[in-house]
Subunit: 265 residues, 2 copies
DNA sequence: ATGTCTTTGTGAACGCGTGCACAAAGATGG
DNA sequence: CCATCTTTGTGCACGCGTTCACAAAGACAT
């Protein structure tokens, strides 16, 4: 059993760099907005600024897809929308199951960005019998006993895990065994999956911690700017004793390793 | 006004690479779990596998923080927990405001990973008057008119945006003007912020699209594996005509550019 | 048809991140 | 006190991603 690789080891998929793939949805969003405003063509400069990237980067990204632009004019919006959609596989229907219908799972079930991109919520699954049959976002929750049946019958290849971390690996294993080959994981755990299965991780806590790091750095480098910038309350230079901090931390509320990505209230 | 940079342009913060900073929370989580099991020391190999990374990478990461290990033994768990916490700025209290209390905002408000890492939800803010005063996850929602007052009085420097995309930029501007210098954005938009303000973006739709890309690639490269792997329904090789697809797409449901990160039911 | 002007597409250089492989350091046992 | 063994810390090389800068390509006006 391979250790969970969240990042693929630089396996260029048919020559398209991973970094480029990650930006295609950004371009697609910007292009869709232009399409709605009936803008016929767009230059790399305009589109790049709309997508929040460098224009050279954008041109290089598009060059991996082919030569879809016209020199002196720019890119045809409609055509590019189609090309990127096709490249991303959005011209087909992707049934998705969401496992773990807590606060977050419920929010995901109602997410508008799913349907508008070819993703269809095929089923909501939860282990709590009290939830079974209850409609969430218009879809009745099914019990996790039926997970395998649901996945195989609907031909689901993408699974979303929004369970507590403690059961995420088990759920993952069952999904994979049933035929799921792509997983979006919201539980704060490292998932182990066999080769050929893709895992992407979304972790709120990590994002906030990264922000905190930079925030601390900003506050530390600009002395005196704390009041103006609204620095944190106890921003004194004093260090907390290691022992005091760590014991307090463990006894605080719970492992967090066993907490759901978002607590079910 | 600078165009929104989500990524900082390789500005190493005091010699600590950005990629390393992004992994520190992972290590911290694994170490916390070990700490709860009262494991005194851990080798780079063990910790790396728990965090899902390479051991060489882990050692190099730690080397940026200093020499906290003991050769022949490994790392002291408690000490390392403290050092990483301090480096990330988690030894201080970070008040956070969440703007936009829809499905997602409410889920975030109840997120357990906040409190356990030194993040404190200082306030929930929503523009809907009907929400004002209503308690969500035990915290009463306040009206967005008071945004500036809340931010400045509580010394909030981190803001979470969970509003519809259409108003995200306005909310962002107000937060920044009020003193917020770090923003976690869940709205599917590119935010423009002045220099000195950090923005991190979490976008469900993008993650799913990246998965779909690899999924499509897998299905295309292994012909005949579709049935076994549970391939998508209409996985025929036929391409959809550009015009048909694009018009259908725009008329489908709505901009999505104006949709919230997670629809408020 | 020709020249000018705009914008793409890309060759090349550079920098960051990753992984290997090993020397240095310290623990441990005799 | 010495030998051995484990594990860290890091020098080095390699590959990916980003950016610059420019030649090629086409639109457009005359």
């Amino acid at each position: 059993m391979a250790t969970g690789r969240t990042h693929r080891p630089a396996t260029r998929s048919r020559g398209i760099p991973e970094a480029t793939v990650a930006r295609l949805p950004l371009y697609l969003r910007a292009l869709t907005a232009l399409s709605e405003r009936s803008v016929p063509t767009v230059s790399s400069e305009e589109l790049a600024s709309a997508a929040g990237v460098n224009s050279a980067k954008l041109r290089k990204d598009f060059s991996y897809l082919g030569s879809y632009g016209t020199r002196g004019v720019g890119y045809d919006v409609e055509y590019l929308v189609y090309q990127i959609s096709r490249e991303l596989g959005l011209t087909q229907d992707w049934p998705v199951v969401i496992v773990g219908i807590g606060n977050l799972g419920a929010a995901l079930a109602g997410y508008g960005g799913f349907a508008s991109r070819g993703f269809r919520v095929a089923a909501l699954i939860d282990a709590d019998p009290a939830m079974t049959g209850k409609p969430v976002a218009g879809i009745p929750v099914q019990h996790s006993d039926d997970l395998e049946k649901i996945v195989s019958e609907d031909g689901v290849s993408i699974g979303v895990i929004a369970t507590p971390a403690g059961v995420a690996q088990q759920v993952c294993d069952r999904l994979v065994a049933a035929g799921v080959t792509s997983i979006l994981n919201f539980a704060p755990t490292v998932l182990s999956v066999p080769d050929g299965v893709d895992v992407r991780k979304v972790d709120l806590s990590i994002e906030l911690q990264i922000l905190a790091f930079h925030e601390q750095r900003k506050a530390g480098e600009e002395p005196g700017a704390e009041a103006a910038a609204g620095g944190p309350a106890g921003a004194s230079g004093a260090a907390v004793p290691p022992a005091a901090r760590s014991t307090e931390d463990t006894s605080r509320k719970g492992p967090d390793g066993d907490m759901p990505a978002v607590m079910p209230a």
